[in-house]
């Protein structure tokens, strides 16, 4: 490089060599004030100075930072206005050297001196600009993260509110249907043994017969008992042995309805159980996201996650191998989100590849210090070109699909896990992709 000006070292020796022209600032001290007189060019030797401007409302905006080896007061010194445009404050204890304008201007060779100074000053300004850029992009990133978190928080609040409302409704349904079932129990008990027996069998088992079994038995029942097709189908659903049905021959038209009432309560019980489970999980997800508690059951968070995305899971076979008694310190809401994210990714990659027999495996295991959670799928695997980047924002293996839901994406999952002093790693080959999450026992 063809160097035309002075190097930093030369400048320091040439202009900032006078011992008396030095200044020390304690942290928090002001170097110069916005709009006040300044006829010195400072060189920071040690510490850190932040330059900010204030608007009429009194809000301060950081403009740039000065690190050791950089100048301060460049503008007021060289523009000739001798007026500072910013307020500069030491954020650490700092040492500065300075050059006074008066003697500098009075030198004969000022013009050429300035020319020699220029490259250094320019590189200084450039450094300021770059730092400003970096600050801006950091800010932008922070804002994005904030917005995302806020969106999740809003969603969480929404979900929590919804869950609360639903919880009330579901509880009423559940308790009323329990009550009704109990009352009917008493009522049918007095209606004769057969009635109670049919009702009770329905209530106990519900319809245990598959549609295929019903179809097969239907013909047999229709022939052996001489009932019409529709009645035969209803009888076949009960799964009662033909011998039992034969005992009640002639009375079946009447009795079958009691079995059906029982089965209806059975289904209602299952459905309200299911509904309240989902509602509970949503509540966990929404409300619990902030507070961390120790002794959090890992398996419970996994089960909650599995409940919440069961609509997706119905298209794959789910295998679980959960070791009980694994506790960590975390927020259950956050962990559920991480699991949902991993589980959904695995399922979607399998479903989208339209493979046969998709299997999703969830395993937990633990040592004295560490808990290991594995989410394993037998899908096509993560392509080599992106496996290194999957924890970076904006990387996806999904093609053009619209995906809504509760997942936060791998980068945020990673953030959460790292926040708990844990780690996430991945091994991926076609036919076996494994995400391994390690969390400390607490």
């Amino acid at each position: 490089m063809d160097f035309k000006g002075y190097s930093y070292q030369q400048i320091r020796e040439r202009y900032f060599s006078e011992e008396k022209n030095s200044r020390k600032l304690k942290k928090g001290e002001i170097l110069m004030k916005q709009g006040a007189k300044n006829d010195r060019l400072y060189l920071l030797i040690k510490g850190k100075i932040i330059a900010y401007v204030s608007n009429e409302a009194g809000n301060k905006y950081e403009v740039f930072r000065i690190n050791p080896g950089m100048f301060a007061g460049v503008y007021s010194f060289f523009s000739g206005s001798y007026m500072s445009r910013t307020t500069m404050e030491a954020v650490e204890d700092s040492e500065l050297l300075f050059l006074e304008a008066q003697p500098f201007e009075e030198r004969e060779d000022t013009e050429s001196e300035i020319r020699f100074l220029l490259p250094v000053i320019l590189s200084d300004l450039n450094a300021r600009m770059e730092s400003a850029h970096q600050m801006a992009s950091e800010k932008e990133e922070a804002i994005t993260q904030l917005l995302k978190a806020e969106k999740m928080a809003t969603l969480g609040q929404l979900a929590a509110g919804l869950a609360h409302e639903l919880n009330n409704a579901v509880s009423v349904l559940k308790s009323k249907s329990d009550w009704l079932a109990r009352e009917l129990d008493n009522f049918f008990r007095n209606q004769g043994a057969e009635v109670f027996d049919f009702y009770h069998r329905g209530l106990e088992t519900g319809q245990a017969m598959s549609s295929r079994e019903v179809r097969e038995d239907r013909e047999k029942i229709s022939v052996e008992l001489g009932v019409d097709r529709n009645t035969a189908k209803r009888l076949a659903r009960t799964g009662l042995p033909i011998s039992t049905l034969k005992e009640h021959r002639g009375d079946l038209e009447r009795l079958i309805i009691y079995w059906e009432i029982g089965a209806a309560f059975h289904d209602m019980g299952l459905a309200s159980e299911h509904a309240s489970q989902v509602v509970q999980s949503v509540k966990e997800l929404g409300a619990g996201s902030a507070e961390r508690k120790s002794g959090l059951d890992i398996n419970k968070t996994l089960r909650d996650a599995l409940t919440l995305i069961q609509s997706v899971l119905r298209q794959v076979e789910v295998q679980t191998e959960l070791k009980e008694g694994l506790y960590t310190m975390a927020s259950s809401g956050e962990l559920v989100q991480v699991w949902i994210n991993l589980l959904k990714n695995a399922c979607e990659s399998m479903i989208n590849s339209r493979m046969e027999n998709p299997v999703l495996r969830v395993e937990t295991s633990g040592t004295a210090k560490w808990i290991t959670v594995r989410v394993i799928d037998n899908g096509p695997g993560i392509p080599d070109d992106i496996i290194g980047k999957i924890f970076q924002p904006n990387v996806t293996t999904k093609k053009g699909g619209l995906s809504f839901g509760l997942g936060l994406g791998l980068p945020i999952s990673l953030n959460i896990i790292q926040d708990y002093n844990g780690s996430i790693s991945v091994n991926s080959n076609p036919g076996r992709t494994e995400f391994i999450v390690k969390l400390p026992v607490a």
Binding site: Q207, S210, S211, R212, D228, N230, R237, G401
Partner: protein, 160 residues
Amino acid sequence: MEKLFIIVVDDQREVLTTVSSELEALGSLVFVEECESPAEAWELIEEIDANGDYPAVVISDHVMPVKTGVEFLSELSEDSRFADVKKVLLTGLATHSDTINAINQASIHRYVEKPWDKEEFLQIVRTLITEYLLEKGLDYQGYSEITDHATILRFMKDNG
């Protein structure tokens, strides 16, 4: 008289029995069959066809293991023997692209969202059965209990 079948496909047994018992309101003129998977439904449809009977309406859930409802109904549309079978997607969860595929590939005739209104649902099935009878040139008069008259009038207007 020909045997007409309505085939309901859903992997959740409770939903399956709910749908089919609602359809029993249509009476004994049609046979309502329940299947827990598309594979089972295919077997049954083949059997119905082999007996010379008619699978008139197929009502399928969308989210099911192994094969989705849209995939199943698409296969049905592509089979020339069953292209004219009336197809209904009954679902509580389908994404935008699922819905598009249902219409473009599976050429479904109706899209019913869970939870459904019983009367509206029955009306849809009545209309579809009527269309099926008319398009197949079967004797619709024998089914007057379950046919939709407005559909008949529309058809007779052009083919009377």
